[in-house]
């Protein structure tokens, strides 16, 4: 996650998180907030290690919401949503992809720093490109 070179394949340790949307009237909510995007200023992202990373990050988790139940955490970087890549998306595109009305469940691939650390420690030298 730290050496993100645009155009190059990326290797990261990800966690699969499945969130069932909660129905509120005629809205389906997931219960978290996202920040970032390729059209946003990456320097203002408090969660990213690399301040040029324009990925989508989770900035808030609504307590008691579906995201919290699914163990999504603040600071996670969303890599994929239902199979679609999120690393090169504008902010609005990302929001739209998460809030599709005809999808009840979103399956996210997220990565977080603690995961990488865990893998690194458990495997010794972590092969990384």
């Amino acid at each position: 996650m730290s050496n993100f070179i645009p155009g190059q394949p990326l290797i990261a340790v990800v966690l699969r998180i499945e969130i069932k949307k909660l129905r509120q009237g005629d809205n389906l909510i997931l219960g978290f907030s996202i920040g970032g995007g390729i059209d946003q200023d990456p320097g203002q992202n408090p969660f990213s290690d690399d301040k040029t990373d324009k990925g989508i990050y989770v900035t808030r988790i609504t307590p008691g919401g579906p995201a919290e139940e699914a163990d999504l955490r603040m600071g996670d970087k969303i890599m994929q949503v239902n199979g679609y890549d999120m690393t090169m998306m504008t902010h609005d595109q990302a929001r739209k992809r998460l809030t599709k009305k005809n999808e009840d469940v979103v399956r996210l691939l997220v990565t977080r720093k603690s995961l990488e650390e865990a893998v690194k420690h458990s495997m010794g030298s972590y092969p990384r490109q």
């Binding site: 155009g7 946003q40 203002q44 609504t62 008691g64």
Partner: protein, 667 residues
């Protein structure tokens, strides 16, 4: 004449010596340094010094040749007066150099691990001056090579030729002789591709790439020191002249040397963009000044005006007194001197026996002529000479004399601005708001709403809720642009509304709110009407109520108002969930944002609120950032629905228009 020539000789000799010393220093540094960056920088200085030495040497040689030639011509028949007029010199500045690159898409995916990197810099030469730009490391991730430097040449003549050379050096391999085999072995073990193999071979030997060259100069007599370490090679070059000068960016073609096999190769697109500006001296300096008498043609023959005239740029400025020039007082009048001006000497004035100078200009179809006269014939002659020289300069510098081009002198190294992180209001907000607070707020609100719903089911509701139901006209003021009340601030918080007019002591609150609206707006367009209760008294309600109800009346779902209020609160960093009742009871103690929450347990709320509101006063500065925390920032899923698309789009628009914001969206 000989003395001056000798002077110039010794000047150049001094410069050569200086450069030789610098070059020796660079060689030593190169041999001694271990870090790659240092080595590259040292190699760059070495390159620059070598080029400068060669330039000075060739200059010296030219001068010697000229001396010899002169002696020869003087012996021959006396040539007529030499061409007398020389155009004035000027400043030429090149800035914002940008060289686009053209990477093949296969290069991205072929070699995963290796990132071919080159260190590049530009060498610019004009006349006897050579400057280099900073060094830039280029690899696949860059689409352009950008040099931020502004290079100014001070002594350029209009026929100048500026040579721009791009040098590059491969920066991935180790150049010290000893370690090459090891590196090679390790690379070979991971099966090289064909072109990669060629690259390494080329890197190891000097190869077909041309050595350092200075186009067109005489061959160097001094031995070039061969130093181990990175060596720069010429990658591309071009020559610029007066025709390329323009007050804006232009693209020029580059001539590329080297080919794909060279280690220092970069896929250049083949052009270069830059801004080449020139300021001839005639535009920036006073070319001639003195006392004159001016009269307009066709005027009273006796109405000569005495002026102190200054010829500069495209005008003759006529001041009343000489002191005005330094005092920066506006000139009495200005006569244009440009390409369309015609100047001639008129016949001798019978009285003073001095020729007059007539300057004619076309001002919008009309011809206006000014007549100048001086006190003596010599003065007239000098002025005419000055005008002729000026015209000659303008004809030589051509487009540079139409308008003065701006040249920004490179300021002494400023440290890179450290502000981005500090200035980010987002960070301020993150620090101030802990998640607990925001969840506290949302919890409070959630609980209140739940109670509310319970109560409404049961038939009772807190008094303030009656506003929503009964006073439809009043409860209408909502996040619709409440322009009636506020100075153009759009979404105003709806919570203003829910005050029951029934209970008398709340009315003043409402009015207070509205009257505060204009005063307490923290210049925050995001509905800044946070009343500071403690500031004001309790005016009567009625007039203000009419204000409130001026917006179209409509009953809104409660959730939206709360939601909007919450987003306002959060946006403005107000961590307190106030209670309406609290404020009623003890207005002085509360500073900000009341909330239509029921009167349960006001005490505890109040205490939290006071503390929180203190903090919020600082974050109320984050006015612009409130917009960043834009659209549905409501906390819980439960009672709050997302605001209507219309409102969201308005907020979105506002937030998106501010580039400082780092948008967050709730999903």
């Amino acid at each position: 004449m000989n003395n001056s020539k000798n002077q110039m000789d010794s000047d150049i000799q001094k410069k050569i010596d200086h450069e030789i010393r610098m070059r020796d220093g660079a060689c030593k540094l190169l041999a001694a340094c271990s870090q790659k960056d240092q080595a590259l920088e040292a190699a760059k200085s070495l390159q620059t010094c070598s080029t400068r030495i060669m330039a000075y040497m060739s200059e010296l040689q030219r001068m010697k040749e000229a001396q010899v030639m002169q002696k020869v011509t003087r012996r021959s028949s006396d040539a007529g007066p030499m061409d007398d007029r020389l155009p004035c010199k000027g400043k030429v500045a090149i800035s914002d150099l940008r060289i686009p690159l053209m990477w093949k898409d296969t290069e991205y995916f072929k070699n995963k691990g290796e990132l071919h990197r080159c260190a590049v810099f530009c060498l610019l030469q004009l006349g006897g001056e050579i400057f280099d730009t900073d060094m830039v490391i280029v690899d696949r991730t860059l689409t352009d090579i950008c040099f931020d430097n502004t290079i100014v040449f001070n002594e350029a003549s209009p026929g100048f030729e500026m040579r721009v050379e791009l040098y590059s050096c491969c920066s991935e391999d180790d150049y010290s002789a000893g370690s090459t085999p090891r590196k090679l072995a390790s690379k070979l073990s991971s099966s090289l591709g064909r072109s990669a193999g060629k690259k390494f071979r080329a890197a190891m030997e000097p190869g077909p790439c041309s050595p350092v060259s200075n186009g067109g100069a005489t061959p160097l007599l001094l031995p070039v020191p061969s130093v181990p370490g990175p060596k720069y090679h010429l990658l591309a070059h071009t020559t610029m002249s007066l025709s390329h000068v323009q007050d804006s960016f232009r693209t020029h073609d580059l001539t590329i040397s080297g080919n794909e096999e060279c280690s220092y190769w970069l896929p250049l697109y083949g052009s270069m963009c830059c801004r080449l500006a020139a300021q001839p001296r005639c535009m920036t300096q006073q070319m001639m000044s003195g006392c004159l008498k001016v009269k307009q043609l066709g005027g009273d023959p006796q109405s000569w005006t005495k002026v102190y005239a200054v010829l500069k740029g495209t005008s003759l400025f006529c001041y009343h007194r000489q002191e005005d020039v330094e005092a920066n007082v506006e000139p009495a009048f200005t006569i244009a001197i440009n390409k369309e001006t015609r100047i001639r000497a008129s016949e001798k004035d019978p009285q003073s026996k001095v020729q007059n100078i007539c300057i004619s200009n076309q001002y919008g179809g009309e011809e206006v002529t000014h007549t100048l006269t001086t006190d003596s014939r010599e003065d007239t002659h000098r002025w005419m000479e000055a005008f002729w020289q000026h015209f000659y300069d303008m004809s030589q510098w051509k487009q540079c004399c139409d308008d003065l081009m701006k040249i920004e002198l490179p300021s002494p190294r400023k440290p890179a601005p450290l502000t981005p992180k500090q200035g980010s209001l987002y960070h301020e907000m993150v620090i101030e708001s802990s998640d607990d607070l925001s969840s506290t707020v949302s919890d409070i609100l959630a609980r209140r709403m739940q109670e509310l719903e319970l109560r409404s089911q049961l038939g009772t509701s807190p008094t303030w809720m009656s506003l929503f139901e009964e006073n439809n006209p009043k409860s209408a003021c909502r996040p619709r642009p409440c322009t009636s009340r506020l100075s153009g601030h759009s979404p105003c918080t709806p919570h203003r509304l829910p005050r029951s007019p029934a209970s008398p002591h709340r009315c003043p609150q409402l009015s207070l709110l509205s009257s505060d609206a204009s005063l307490t707006s923290d210049s925050d367009s995001h509905c800044s009407t946070s009343p500071c209760f403690h500031r004001h008294g309790w005016p009567e309600p009625s007039p203000n109520f009419s204000l409130l109800s001026s917006s179209p009346s409509r009953l809104r779902p409660r959730t939206l108002s709360l939601d909007a209020k919450l987003s306002t609160l959060q946006g403005r960093g107000y961590r307190g969930g106030g209670t309406l009742q609290c404020l009623c009871q003890s207005p002085p103690s509360l500073l900000h944002g009341p909330l239509p929450v029921s009167s349960r347990s006001p005490r505890s709320q109040r205490s939290t609120q006071t503390t929180l509101s203190c903090s919020s006063s600082t974050s109320s500065n984050s006015s612009s950032n409130s917009e960043g925390r834009h659209s549905p920032e409501s906390s819980d899923g439960a009672p709050f629905s997302r605001p209507s698309p219309a409102r969201r789009s308005l907020r979105n628009l506002r937030a998106r228009l501010d580039p400082r914001n780092w948008l967050q969206s709730q999903v």
